[in-house]
């Protein structure tokens, strides 16, 4: 059943992305000031939003784990965090390439860029921490604490372009500004692509969750094997 859902989500994401790519490259015109490079916005922003959504979903699962003690919520939090981190990396790499053309630099220690880099470091640390601790309950508890801490930085990323007026542009989406800062056709395309990328992320999370449950099964079977070995001895 889960296989079918994964394939269904992946197929829907592929179809949606194909339609979106057609519209991004062949229907929407070039930007009057930036030329074709502005099209990076249609993946740069949805990838960032997918990362944010993922981190908050992971936060919810982490809190759920802390209140229930069920390890499956810890596995879900880890799966969602890993996928969210991938999309944050997509966001920062695309943004850097876009910056090279528009700002003339690959990178600057601007509030938005720096807080995004910090979040990538925090969530990379989260994944490294999980590899370093063998005991499942201790690993889950520390991971949940780090996930909660990481979300504080996500809030800073979101608000940084309002709090600090540095290199990164101010908010343009109408959900934040009330409208008038971006052409509606372009803004709708950002949301369509967000939907497609979320479908892709959901498929990847399901694959990753299945792997986490396999890991848990291997751990418990190993413990069982040790117990059988002790009985034999």
């Amino acid at each position: 059943m889960r296989e079918k859902v994964i394939y269904g989500l992946a197929a829907a994401a592929a179809l949606f992305l194909a339609i979106n790519l057609y519209r991004i490259f062949l229907v929407l015109p070039d930007d009057a000031l930036q030329g074709p490079i502005y099209r990076i916005i249609f993946f740069h922003v949805p990838a960032a939003l997918t990362g944010f959504i993922g981190y908050f979903v992971a936060l919810a699962f982490s809190v759920w784990y802390l209140s229930s003690g069920k390890l499956k919520y810890d596995s879900l939090a880890a799966s969602v965090t890993e996928v969210a981190l991938i999309f944050s990396c997509v966001n920062i790499v695309m943004g850097s390439i876009w910056a090279r053309v528009i700002w003339g630099i690959w990178w600057t220690w601007d509030a938005r860029l720096t807080s995004t880099l910090i979040s990538i470091l925090i969530y990379s640390g989260y994944l490294m921490l999980r590899r370093a601790i063998d005991e499942p309950t201790q690993r889950a508890r520390l991971s949940a604490a780090l996930s909660i801490f990481g979300c504080l930085d996500v809030v800073i990323i979101w608000k940084s372009i309002e709090w600090f007026r540095t290199q990164h542009p101010a908010p343009v989406l109408s959900i934040r500004t009330g409208g008038g800062d971006i052409d509606p056709a372009m803004e709708h395309m950002i949301y369509y692509n967000l939907a497609a990328i979320l479908l892709l992320a959901a498929a990847l999370v399901l694959v990753r969750t299945r792997q986490e449950s396999m890991s848990r099964e291997i751990d418990s079977l190993r413990r069982m094997a040790n117990a059988v070995e002790r009985n034999v001895a």
Binding site: Q34, G35, P36, I37, R39, I40, F43, H44, A47, I86, C89, V90, V93, M94, I97, W98, R100, V101, L200, L204, V207, R208, R210, Q211, M214, S215, E217, I218, L221, R222, M224, A225, V228, E229, N231, V232
Partner: protein
């Protein structure tokens, strides 16, 4: 600005757009490949552990 410079700027702009999209898909593709490899490794590990338990359980029966 003369048309030749404009054409060069447009070409550079277009090339960087291509690099941006290519980088995004390369990151996602590498992650999907790493997921597939990790899945195959876990499946093998699970089969090995199951086989080990089955053989140890058989050995215990034999001793009893």
């Amino acid at each position: 600005m003369d048309p030749h410079t404009l054409t060069l700027m447009y070409a550079r702009n277009f090339a960087f757009m291509f690099y941006g999209f290519a980088a995004a898909w390369v990151i996602v593709a590498l992650y999907v490949i790493s997921l597939a490899r990790r899945g195959a490794r876990l499946k093998k590990e699970l089969d090995d552990v199951r086989r080990l338990i089955a053989s140890e359980a058989g050995e215990q029966d034999f001793r009893v």
